[in-house]
Symmetry: C2
Subunit: 336 residues, 2 copies
């Protein structure tokens, strides 16, 4: 009898997750019912958003149930099938879990993909996946940038941030990135084409505020916020009139028992500015449009795509934690 | 030689203003130059925004200089004139100061008004002034409400909040108000037509969050925020998908040395919601439109206008502090 390995949630993390919050289990394949199919997962996407799904808190998706495999987007191949739309051998992309095999159901969040259209099937988890669509629609729809404006990106060396900066440059913006450490900052300007980089490590809000001001004395028009905390408070002190903060993530507080939020909200009033939350799911009906544009840029050599692939489901926990340590270089992917 | 009395800023308040931060001075009228005119102020508008202008912080207006009269909108009558556009006896409205007489200049922020079109010239400081325009454009333009939606207003018994609730009802919204104390809450439902009221006094964020949820189990679509702090954090936990928070004021933190902001910003991501700052000055070109609509509602008996008038420039300090104590019943106005 065939078995699968699953990276399951053993208990809800209190603050920063620890290894004992998870359990790697091995169990029998589920028996397929009519309409179902079994996906052999090849790659799982490790994203900061997963941290939110581990908490028992009101969110846009139900919490991962205790004892269940941790939810993640995966790319895989159909290994068994009782569904004619998903024949054995078909590559698929779907919202599944960190597990070697997932059960596909009719009408679920899994769709066929053609891995031949991109250099690597992992690209469906980066530039053509939620990460790419978040950067594309988040910057262009929520940020509403106009050519010549100044863009500030936090978490700029990350999977989403590095794409946001590059798309910003393609759209005629001046791009300033915030990242942790000299090496990442060098990557921002040399590899992703940011005009300037700020290293946030060891700096107070006041120091960050002053460094942003030095680079953008007239203020910033669009902030793409991935981090929150000191980065967001410093950004809020440098807004121009009518500026837009696209709130994509708050990774600095995802492991904090107390939410951090922002103190300098009063600056929104001073500058008639806004903070708008960004949920990529809202743009699902336009993913084809976004994907086509991103693919065109990739094929034209206009977008640098960095992926950080760790291998083996046994590595799921340390690979996931790289997102919070900042020790990944590019989109974090687990090869299963 | 004629003199005027001025309520001046003696030093910048540290936190909550105290009487010694101000000084009432008596000085000679300025000599009029060509194009200038002297306004005998009858009424001054006391607004929470004034508190922000007392700090030496980056804002949408320069700080009130030390030794200068405290900036305020006033209604008055031209008493001397070397400007043919402002003859003696003309009623005017302008951004002047808390002083018995202000110097009007050509091209300044003062314009003629006709006090005959409203029941009282004070109405130019309430329903037809910045307060009325803030409620009108803030709710309708920043809040973007649709009939049938649920509106939550904090500071709902205040000058702006009471108008926001009434405009909301005129536009077919369900209106929930938050105010301090049983009497104000009664006023919300009985006098201003709110559907329900919540008394915030002595309650934690969790309690406020639960009370809002009990009244709006499906969440709120528009939040009109005047208060900040616990009110805002509780409101953020009750947002619907795509909801709008019109950030008008943060009176709970204006006297705080540390800015308070909001902790539950993560809910903006969960619900693709936004917080947008509201500066009524942006709508100056549309004040005539807003004023006409407000005047029509007033004349039709559809808007209740409450004004709280204290008398005498000697009362300027305690009258201003009512805004923070919540001891005013309606738009706070000082009769000079």
């Amino acid at each position: 009898m065939k078995t699968r390995k699953r990276f399951t949630l053993a208990r809800r993390p209190a603050g920063t997750p620890v290894a004992a919050d998870f359990r790697l289990v091995q169990e029998a394949f589920p028996e397929l019912e009519e309409g179902q199919f079994l996906i052999e997962n090849r790659y799982a996407s490790l994203d900061p958003a997963i941290r939110g799904w581990l908490d028992d808190a009101p969110s846009y998706m139900p919490p991962v149930p205790l004892g269940e495999a941790v939810r993640a987007t995966t790319v895989g191949v159909v290994a068994q099938s009782r569904n004619p739309d998903f024949p054995v051998g078909q590559w698929v992309l779907g919202l599944n879990a960190i597990e070697t095999h997932s059960l596909g159901v009719a009408g679920g969040f899994t769709g066929p993909i053609d891995p031949m259209i991109v250099p690597s099937p992992t690209n469906f988890l980066s530039v053509l996946g939620a990460v790419g669509m978040t950067a594309y629609f988040g910057l262009l729809e929520v940020g509403q940038p106009r050519p010549g404006e100044t863009l500030l990106v936090s978490g700029a060396a990350g999977a989403v941030g590095s794409l946001v900066g590059q798309i910003g440059k393609l759209k005629g913006l001046r791009a300033i990135g915030i990242a942790g450490g000299a090496e990442k900052c060098r990557r921002l300007t040399e590899r992703y084409g940011f005009d300037a980089a700020i290293d946030y490590r060891g700096k107070t809000v006041d120091q960050l505020e002053a460094e942003i001001r030095a680079l953008a004395p007239d203020g910033v028009d669009v902030v793409f916020e991935n981090v929150g905390g000191a980065c967001l408070d410093a950004a809020l002190m440098n807004l121009r009139h009518g500026s837009r903060v696209a709130l994509c993530g708050l990774i600095s507080e995802y492991n904090s028992p107390e939410k951090i939020g922002a103190r300098n909200l009063w600056q929104l009033i001073v500058h008639s500015a806004r903070i708008e939350g960004l949920l990529v799911r809202d743009y699902l009906p336009r993913f084809a449009e976004g994907g086509a544009q991103m693919a065109e840029w990739v094929m034209a050599g206009k977008l640098v795509i960095d992926e950080h692939v760790d291998e083996g489901i046994e590595k799921a926990f340390p690979a996931f934690m790289r997102l919070f340590e900042g020790s990944n270089d590019g989109k974090m992917i687990l090869k299963l």
